[in-house]
Point group: C2
Chain length 206, copies 2
DNA sequence: GTTATTCTTTATCGATCGACAAAGAATGGA
DNA sequence: TCCATTCTTTGTCGATCGATAAAGAATAAC
């Protein structure tokens, strides 16, 4: 098990693929685009990654483990649901509006409209979105159990709400709405979870 | 100026094109798809509409004049900003989750990820989204002037917020989140404008 | 060295993409 | 009736799509 060693950095190529798929989506990037972006002949790309679709899926996994993983990290690290959600919103805006980087969320934008033959890719990304919603709901349920949020709080409604806002932020960022304007909406967005908590530190909305 | 009369209903064909573009997006629909969906040879489609892109633009205009026009109608018809926004949210959810119809908003979903050669189409749809945001901001500014909302209200932040939620609802609906769950989030979404109004009829959020 | 294995290079493959040319058919106006 | 105009039919265009075959080059195991 030896063979000729690969002459390019696979991780580097994968990162380039992630960026171009993030920018223009799965169907918006052709093999010719990948050849020029990665600087590799198509046969080399196929040898290393298998197919355009397999490369895309690996690119999404990389995105989700790095830039896209802020929600998982915030939920794991913040002591309360309110702090977790505020951090998620702030980091979402920052991640989605970084200079020199693609705007919006790759998981939301890279395969929303698909040809019927690529419906499988769309559904696979939908799974990522559903899981993010589920993790928000789960964290909010825990906050109700912990007594952080009022017992009459419906965690699923609240989780659906924050999933909706996060999805909307991607579209807004992709449309070029500046970071400052998106950050400015966060106190308004926080009203929901704060009003489900016992009155303490309300944000000044609007 | 006479010539052979057209043998098919142009409006009917346009409605079919709108539906398939709404379902799968501009790039997700091929001319072969249009030929089979409209039941017309490609030369007939070109004769009637000019090009795939011209047909798409006409289809979006039709969408915006009918299904997609609920925001314009609500703003024109409702006496207060709060009533207008609540109606917009409700009709958005209803429009985006109608049985047997494509889910989500055509303007949001039909060209979010585009090949570089179709960037013009994406920007054109972005214009529709920006105008919707602007009309929300404008209505909220008027509400501040009218005294419906507190004078310290920042109408642009609030308008950006509702634009974000509306964009997010499209993604949620496309992902198959059921109507009942999306409707259930509306009281939470209404918290923002209600807290900018003088205390009266607050929704029971969560 | 020999062999098995893997990567690189080069040149394509058939399918599909959006679009159109040319000829025939149906209308209104002269 | 004949013409100008417009639509319909048929066939196909060059470009691009994702993907691969075949041959040469570089490694490790033996």
């Amino acid at each position: 098990m030896a063979g000729r060693p690969r002459e390019f950095d696979r991780n580097e190529a994968l990162a380039k693929a992630r960026d171009v798929f993030w920018s223009r989506g799965y169907e918006g990037v052709s093999m010719a685009d990948l050849v020029s972006t990665l600087g590799l002949a198509s046969a080399r790309i196929y040898a290393a990654f298998g197919s355009k679709e397999a490369l895309f899926r690996e690119a999404v996994e990389l995105y989700d483990a790095e830039e896209g993983g802020f929600a998982t990290r915030a939920i794991a690290e913040e002591p309360t649901a309110q702090l977790a959600i505020e951090r998620i919103l702030r980091e979402a805006v920052e991640t989605y509006t970084r200079k020199g980087r693609p705007h919006g969320c790759m998981v939301v934008l890279a395969a929303t409209n698909c040809a019927s033959e690529n419906e499988g890719v769309r559904e696979w990304l939908e799974g990522y979105r559903r899981r993010r919603t589920a993790s928000l709901v789960e964290r909010l349920e825990r906050a109700v159990e912990d007594g952080e949020l009022k017992p009459e709080t419906d965690a699923r409604i609240l989780g659906d709400y924050y999933a909706t806002v996060l999805h909307g932020l991607s579209v807004q960022a992709r449309d070029g709405v500046p970071r400052s304007r998106l950050l400015a909406t966060i106190p308004t967005v926080m009203l929901a979870v704060c009003s489900a908590a016992y009155p303490r530190s309300f944000p000044r909305a609007t």
